[in-house]
């Protein structure tokens, strides 16, 4: 869907109860808000309600700076909602972390440079120099922070300083081969996206393509998820697979898998910056 007027996007969840949609849409309609997209989901097992509404700001009777206050008072408080509002004309600021594998980086830069993605990517951090030229030619600052066992904590502090100074909202681990500390992760809850090169929960940890080859599977996968303190166990945003055959070596799995990884990661990033994801009980509701 495309629409040129700026929009507001509400993501909300609360206990299921009668009349939620009526209350939210009445709030919008009575203030002349034109809804261009609405999706809802009820988890009947957990009796929980989830919603995403997008409406045009042009013609909406509430000033942008008052929307949150009004929504809170008129709707959210009485429904005891968890909620957030984003605006389509405020671009998410994203930093990329990358190591030696460039396929995800290339894929992201291709979309960024073509204008496919309405985001800002002002910063790439890498523990290797390899992609400096590529990144800088795309007009993005490149910071080389090599990691050793002894300097890891120190370098992570520098990473956090850089993220703060660039006012980064979200971090994409584009095949970044270092594990982040709990401290780092807790600073960016549901804002760090990783791509794992297996169909989680199968083959977590290192060398999943070797494990897949050893087990003789006929399919390999890739999983994009929010990073949580438990390794490879965060809420899953997107997964896809590639079929393989007995004559595929581990090298073939890596090559075929990389095509899958980059597409899966880029789809997840898109859901994220379009504010289509709600996380609940370590699961992602993705209104795609």
């Amino acid at each position: 869907m495309s629409n040129s007027s700026p929009t507001a996007i509400l993501l909300a969840e609360c206990s299921d109860q009668a009349g939620i949609i009526a209350k939210v849409t009445h709030f919008l309609a009575s203030n002349n808000g034109n809804i261009i997209d609405l999706e809802q989901h009820v988890d009947h097992q957990d009796k929980h309600f989830f919603m995403r509404v997008e409406w045009q700001l042009n013609g909406f009777n509430i000033e942008r700076e008052s929307i949150e206050k009004e929504f809170k008072q008129q709707v959210a408080d009485q429904l005891e909602m968890n909620w957030s509002i984003a605006y389509s004309d405020i671009k998410l600021k994203i930093a990329l972390f990358v190591s030696q594998h460039g396929h995800c980086l290339f894929d992201i830069l291709s979309r960024y440079q073509s204008g496919e993605w309405p985001v800002e990517i002002p910063l790439v951090i890498s523990n290797h120099e390899r992609y400096r030229t590529l990144v800088e030619n795309a007009g993005i600052d490149f910071q080389h922070l090599p990691i050793t066992p002894s300097n890891k904590q120190q370098q992570e502090e520098k990473q956090l300083e850089l993220l703060a100074s660039y006012q980064i909202d979200s971090v994409i681990l584009a095949r970044y081969m270092q594990i982040l500390s709990n401290n780092f992760i807790q600073n960016y809850p549901n804002q760090v996206i990783n791509i794992h090169h297996s169909f989680l929960p199968a083959f977590p940890g290192a060398k999943p393509y070797h494990s897949a080859h050893e087990r003789g599977v006929k399919i390999i996968g890739a999983t994009s998820h929010y990073v949580t303190v438990e390794l490879d166990a965060g809420p899953i945003i997107e997964q896809d697979i590639v079929h393989i055959r007995h004559n595929d070596s581990v090298e073939d799995l890596k090559r075929k898998g990389q095509d899958n990884e980059k597409i899966v990661l880029s789809r997840a990033i898109r859901h994220h910056f379009q504010h289509k994801i709600l996380v609940y009980k370590n699961r992602c509701i993705v209104f795609d």
Copy 2:
């Protein structure tokens, strides 16, 4: 989604305008209707609005026999909606038409007999005797109406009589190899579902697997669509594909294709009896 209480399902479409969802959900909420599913779609190019809402009848303040009248007066008329309301506890009555290929018939009977599908299938009509025992053992009446060029119109009249006498709502052409007359089709608008064994609009008409083999495609498809008077040109409900290789003969395409056909047809039937489909400008909006 499953829910044991009976529900009402509204399908509606109208010109896009502000406040539609608010009006509909206010109607439901003010009558104590608990929404268990709501989906909407705006075609921004055509400025047209589409909606499906499902709510629980238990606790709803309007009696079932008055719902349509009240909805018309309170909501639909002022929005100039096209709309219909169905009820989850009123099972759709389906007739199957089949010829010599049994794979779709088997697939449908499997679901019917296992209780997967809350529909009634009281009647199978075939131009061959082949599947009489299978059908009758499933507790379904089997009517053999062989077709020749000279008796075609006459037999179709018998088909229509049978459909009427069994109070059939929808007809599934489960690889029925005869073309229906315009008269038949117009009697059941958007109620006759066909499975065509190609990825339409590629390879319409007869022998699509031969054409696919001749052209050397690497993928074969299947398309389930509502039947309209123009052959193989009705609104598409569901499509899927199978990958093939150079060593697949026409016979292999038929075999691999049949696995695809039966799954695609059964998915389309499910969308249909769940009242998830709106047809607009020869396209299907499928709220899946």
Copy 3:
């Protein structure tokens, strides 16, 4: 590929060495054998060679009863091959084991009754009476052997007796919900095929759809494999997946998964009776 003349099918594996294909094809060509299909695979890591050759018996200069002896003497012994020869006109005898879920059974019977599969299915064994009529109407004997913790060993002995008396080659567990004993499995090495309703090695054991829902995966899988004494760890023949969304309940996963299970199982059975599978180091080479 289809070919009306009966064929012989050689499956062979040995240490990789120069000249294997030349020796095998020279053996065939010098005896006027017309090859209609040849596939080979070299595992370069393990330095191991695998081969499948199919040739026409019409015109072949060696009598059928002497082929094995001649191949052994002229080719196999000097290459230290493990090998077997099957004949396309000798139908595999298959028994089906089934419990309460009928979707795989229906799918198999559909193929069997349409003549898609050149196999014999003389016997279905079930721990429930549910599918007796369906099976018997297909002209197949149905044996009801209910299982309780106390009679399990006894009933398995009866199963083995039945398999022996029907001269069964291979057993298909078509969603049979009982675990076979090691004794049973070792009687039919690489001849018992199971369908597990997850993407192994993810979610082995019971209730994989519940686990998948709990973990919030975006894809569910099915795995067909030869049964070995370690549960759900046998060599994988075929796998495929279905995409799911956040609004799919556990019931939806079961329903969508069943469509996948039956197709995956039937593909695996086809590879098996076409003698396209070699098992090596708990992995399947499938010459599909």
Copy 4:
């Protein structure tokens, strides 16, 4: 499959007859050639035989400069084969043609720069300046040849001169939006690869995504094929699809389709430079 020793790759086709594989493999084995891959295909309908064999040059008793002569005399002439031999250590020289859409270009450069592809790409020709920096930073010459109706023939002559001067083997149309002349195409038979953004033969020609949206299909495709004088009708190398929904606008189809296009094109290029493709009767045999 990976193997460090240089290899020779034979692609051959001829009328089907007994003993072909035996003759070819005897030629190799008797000269101490170690086969690392062999694939064959018999088109039983056309009674035609196709083969690809790859063997190690290390240890092979025939000098490289004599291989073709010896193979011709000892094998090919008596079988009346069409055949060619390539060598894994002689890299194919590829030129890319590109217009305004960069997604395929980015994808190709990503593989090229990572070393995934053992080819040489010395030249990019474009009718726009847009990707000059990207291309030049990859170490590739960029030639800007804008096309107008009046200069088209003239510019094509320059293109052909450039291809000749760079000794280009194969041309990749990476979403190049100009139609090549018959003269150009006939200079590079089965050496010009195009990516068409539909599932051919559906939606040939311009604006396939608009046509797909108009028709209401549920799947969009991409087709990579060799370019022949008939537009969008050349032999198909690779196809794949993406599922779409009713809420995908034409812009969404373009975006989702581009992910598919780049993967399909890159797979086709890989088959091509690995000498895995034989073209026969406007169909591709792809030994993948």
